[in-house]
């Protein structure tokens, strides 16, 4: 069971955390909403709960609750640029299909 960050993603997340001035890392979760069933949640983590799983890459902690982890296992988080738009991208091997925009998905 693992979630990974690319070096580029880790670098950007570190930058965002530094600017924000607080937070232990990044929290990833899956919420059951959205037009295709599931939706990603990506937030700053201010604390780690007792049963959270924590993955670390280049000093960046990625915090995931056990319920979400089953949908996210094996995911690689990347930072990319598409035209003027830039941001974090989920490469999730569990996804069977997703809505046109990719904001929600199904497994």
């Amino acid at each position: 069971m693992a979630i990974t960050l690319t070096d580029k993603a880790a670098e950007h997340v570190k930058g965002f955390l530094d600017k924000r001035g607080k937070g232990v890392g990044l929290r990833l979760a899956v919420r059951t909403t959205g037009c295709s069933g599931m939706a990603y949640v990506i937030e700053f983590a201010d604390e780690v709960a007792a049963n959270d799983e924590v993955f670390e890459h280049n000093d960046i902690k990625v915090v995931v609750d056990p319920k979400s982890l089953v949908y996210l296992d094996g995911t690689e988080l990347d930072y990319t640029k598409e035209g003027l738009n830039e941001g974090l991208k989920f490469n999730n091997p569990n996804v069977k299909d997703e809505c046109g925009c990719g904001e929600s998905f199904n497994i």
């Binding site: 997340v13 990506i42 937030e43 700053f44 003027l84 738009n85 991208k89």
Partner: protein
């Protein structure tokens, strides 16, 4: 595959419900758009990789509109169809053209209404149209960068913008299809960008010298709230003026006397701007001006020469600083931090002199060109609901007093300047004549005592007032200013409940002078105004006395007065009317006193007659019981 931004804990949005909001600094010279992404505000770059775009719009014959650098590139070759610095005309009427540098730089169509329109090959364009084209371009940049539609924008305006100028800015946003979350004062945005709310009880001065406008704002941080204590400024002072001063000197040095050629003039301005920017890092700078005969003029200018040129312009900003300090009732030494905003604060003379003035080193850490947009983006993020709790509540102030015209053409201030908004204030007025059934209300803005020296905002009438003797009617007038500084005035007659109101969609064409001129004038004319007010008040009082005595004489003058007594009173009234026509307050005052004196006996007789009439045919007991009731 969608790209994600990191949200605050618990604030992640459901898919397709991300609330994208931006902050826009719509500047006179340059405009920027910024947004909060993954917790930090950053300026968004367009497809040409530019963070800020020139606030320039070029209209082509086929109706194509170019914005930014592409438009600026056309400025020299096609000056009349390339509009720059349009912000200076926002909310201005055709009458204001002569006050600006525009009249000789562009072709105007002033016949098409009260709004001045630039004549371009694509038709007439107003300042609102030009601003809207700029906003449209920024909106496109933002939507491409953020990957979705915007829910809204916070647009910054100079603290000094009046209602008409704010409304014009909102109109431009509406035309561009942007929802305005809020208009935010530029200096307030700058304070947000620096995160100065963290410093408890600190007093911060924001010194904003942009391309076309100057603002000084004094802000106080209390328990995380920004309170604007005072603002002052100059809506026609900025880097553009430095460029013009320098361009004039360059023209003189190069022996260019014919300044009617718009391309040549624009070219000189571009060279001047380049020199100004270089002199921020270097102590002297060489230049090369192409001449009409195909040759060119080469010369150099050093920083001292440049400083000498801009010194008189710069001094105007310190005058505003002093006024803001006076308004806020604080000393220079009470100011804990001075934030520099606007590209023109890169000029070394400006930094040095402002540091000297406040006796402390000024803050220049954040790019002075981006700081306002960054602050607006942070505010937009809060307003769009992307923050756990909106700990930011911004209090702004109204820049000029709002009031009503009263008898004698005097301005009665209902809301004094620098009152924090939103605000509602009520004041009672009454009628002037017996049986008066309508009241004309004239809403004015300004600091002067006479209406003729203030700015007229709106006129409306309250009708169907029940006829009563003068002074018996109670009319409550309510002034309401919303969070964006827009005004609603309503009047209600208390007895009958008749109501009239006006939304002061401030009329564009009514401005008769620049705001800061109004303020300066109010300081310079303080004592004249006091005397003028005293004179007007005596005139109103004289009219009231004449009106009262004449109506009394008409009803029972012959009954109580013999012809000699009557002649004396008529003589005194005649003298009072002569004095009233003159300009001496004291003469009117003494003439009023004389009328009162000579009519004393008559007034007494009338009073006695009235009492006798009331008593006639009554028993003592009735009178006693009547009086004991009261």
């Amino acid at each position: 595959m969608a790209l994600f931004q990191i949200a605050e804990p618990g604030q992640a949005q459901a898919p397709h419900q991300r609330r994208l909001a931006v902050g826009i600094d719509l500047g006179t010279t340059n405009s920027l758009v910024a947004s909060v992404m993954s917790g930090s505000a950053k300026v968004l770059v367009n497809e040409q990789d530019e963070a800020s775009i020139p606030s320039v719009v070029h209209y082509q014959e086929d109706g194509t509109v170019l914005v930014g650098s592409a438009a600026q590139a056309k400025a020299v070759a096609d000056p009349y169809n390339t509009i720059a610095s349009a912000k200076r005309l926002m909310g201005k009427g055709a009458d204001d053209l002569s006050d600006t540098l525009f009249a000789d730089r562009y072709l105007f169509d002033t016949d098409s209404g009260s709004l001045p329109a630039f004549k371009t090959q694509a038709g007439n364009k107003t300042a609102v149209d030009v601003s809207s084209a700029i906003l449209q371009s920024l909106k496109n940049t933002a939507e491409l960068s953020l990957g979705g539609e915007l829910v809204g924008a916070v647009i910054t305006v100079p603290a000094y913008f009046d209602d008409a100028q704010r409304q014009a800015t909102k109109d431009a946003a509406t035309v561009a299809g942007l929802h305005v979350l809020r208009l935010l004062n530029e200096p307030t945005a700058a304070a947000l960008a620096y995160g100065l709310d963290a410093k408890e009880d600190a007093c911060v001065a924001i010194f904003d010298l942009g391309g076309g406008t100057f603002d000084i704002s004094l802000l106080k941080m209390q328990r995380g709230l920004f309170e604007v204590m005072a603002t002052a400024g100059d809506t026609a002072l900025g880097g553009d003026d430095f460029d013009h001063a320098l361009a004039a000197t360059l023209a003189e040095q190069a022996g260019i006397t014919d300044l009617s050629d718009a391309s040549q003039q624009r070219n000189l301005l571009n060279i001047a701007r380049g020199i100004k920017e270089q002199l921020s890092d270097q102590t002297s700078c060489g230049f090369d001006i192409p001449l009409a005969d195909g040759g060119s003029y080469k010369g150099t200018i050093d920083r001292d020469q440049f400083n000498a040129l801009i010194e008189p312009l710069f001094k105007r900003s310190l005058k505003s600083c002093r006024q803001a300090l006076r308004d806020a009732n604080i000393e220079k030494s009470d100011v804990d931090a001075v934030v520099m905003v606007g590209g023109s604060t890169r000029v070394p003379l400006v930094r040095d002199r402002v540091s000297e003035f406040f006796g402390r080193t000024v803050l220049t850490d954040i790019n002075p060109d981006e700081v306002v947009a960054v602050g607006a983006a942070l505010q937009a993020d809060v307003l769009a609901g992307n923050k756990p709790d909106s700990e930011l509540l911004l209090l702004d102030v109204i820049p000029l007093s709002l009031g009503l015209e009263t008898m004698g053409g005097l301005a009665e201030k209902v809301i004094p300047r620098n009152t924090t908004i939103p605000i509602a204030r009520a004041q009672e007025f009454t009628t002037y004549k017996d049986g008066q059934t309508a009241l004309a209300l004239h809403v004015v803005q300004g600091e002067r005592e006479l209406v003729s020296d203030c700015r007229s905002l709106a006129r409306f009438e309250l009708r169907d007032i029940p006829p009563r003797v003068a002074g018996a009617v109670r009319i409550q007038v309510i002034f309401q200013v919303d969070a964006d500084g827009l005004l609603t005035v309503s009047a209600i007659e208390k007895e009958s409940g008749v109501v009239a109101s006006v939304d002061v969609k401030p009329s564009y064409g009514l401005s008769d002078s620049e705001i800061e001129q109004m303020l300066t004038a109010s300081m310079e004319h303080a004592s004249d105004d006091m005397l003028a007010r005293a004179l007007q008040e005596q005139k109103v009082e004289a009219d009231r006395v004449v009106e009262a005595i004449n109506s009394a004489l008409a009803s029972d003058g012959d009954e109580h007065l013999d012809s000699d007594e009557r002649t004396v009173i008529d003589q005194a009234i005649g003298d009072l009317q002569t004095a009233r026509a003159g300009d001496s307050t004291d003469a009117i005052k003494s003439a009023i006193a004389k009328v009162e004196k000579v009519s004393n006996a008559y007034v007494e007789r009338r009073m006695n007659a009235t009492v006798r009439k009331m008593m006639a045919g009554k028993q003592l007991a009735d009178v006693e019981s009547d009086t004991s009731d009261t």
